[in-house]
């Protein structure tokens, strides 16, 4: 389910966050479904539990999962709201991009920005 790419320059915890994010927003992980425990996933991926903890904390911060002490981490149930907000963000992005374009910023420069943020080298 989760694969770590050590060739990837991004930190491990970020890879885990992104992977879970996609799985949750895709609907692959259903609301209230329990995630692997911090320790179990740490063992499975052969990495430190603190790294998993950090990833889960960020996912909780983003509202994608919720944690219950003594029980575990679970997929948040309000994913509709998330998708709604994403669409709003994309709409804002379009406006911003339109301004960039009208200000004479070239396509390639915008693309570099996107790649820079998303840490993607190739498209």
């Amino acid at each position: 389910m989760i694969v770590i790419d050590y060739q990837d320059k991004r930190p491990i915890y970020e890879q885990i966050i992104d992977r879970f994010q996609i799985l949750i927003l895709n609907g692959a992980l259903e609301p209230d479904m329990q995630l692997p425990s911090v320790r179990a996933l740490a063992v499975e991926l052969s990495i430190n539990a603190n790294t998993i903890q950090r990833a889960y904390s960020e996912l909780e911060h983003r509202g994608l999962i919720y944690s219950v002490k003594g029980r575990g981490n679970f997929v948040s149930a309000q994913q509709d709201v998330v998708k709604e907000q994403q669409e709003k963000l994309l709409e804002e992005l379009r406006t911003q991009l339109q301004v960039c374009k009208e200000s004479g910023i070239e396509f390639i420069h915008v693309l570099d920005c996107v790649r820079e943020i998303y840490q993607e080298v190739k498209v």
Copy 2:
């Protein structure tokens, strides 16, 4: 200097704007250098003078050129300001992109947005 691609879906005036923009920001056209007259360029490109006029108007609006009645159109001397503002816009764009990324919007969706705005099909 200016080439029109009729295969290109974008309107002609936009192609002209973009081309001059690049030439000016690149420094190919130096400050206070005179641009071809509206009518001359219209004849050279075999297109309507109104189209050139529209392009020049937009370039003036963007602060890239300035026009002097009875004399012609000239490259604006304050290109530093332009680049500065562009950098500010890119910085804002980076912030926005970061928010998008952290909100779980996938790389591909952002890319679609960029392509949509910039009317580019392939990268």
Copy 3:
């Protein structure tokens, strides 16, 4: 009567305590009225009996309820306790208000909050 919110970060036993405290302080549960048995409530809420026990123990410690071995738990009859608990809540409120003040939130905004909650229009 009691609802558990697993999204809430507070531990379950604390949620139960708070809920009962409110019900007792505002008089919804009358003095000497019997509370649900530990086991019954545990089954009803589908949680561990130890958790209910812990909540009841804390409520007894606060003097809000008293337990009789072999019979059950009952609402305390002493009104002094009520005022004591209310004073604790006010103390917490003072702390929160202090933070608000130190964070530069103006008096008038806090006042609006109070009026909003208490549905009072004029002072």
Copy 4:
């Protein structure tokens, strides 16, 4: 500037966050002012650098500070963030007030609290 209370049940990193948040929100720390380095503050407070790092990360996440690799952490210059954080504090206050109201604490007593903290005599 920063004091840790080991009697306080809250985690150390949270105490640090709250303290800095107050200092930034009320303007005691001016925009673009540099914060103590992670390691320096760790030594000063005799706690682990990771704990400071965590606090700074959260402050950056809230937009209250920004970090520059190799240079340090600095107070954010965006005032929007300040209002946002203040609104969050007010939201917490509303929750607390709701509990007070539900616990049968009268309007006038809450009002006295507010006046007491804000040192206002009349409304």
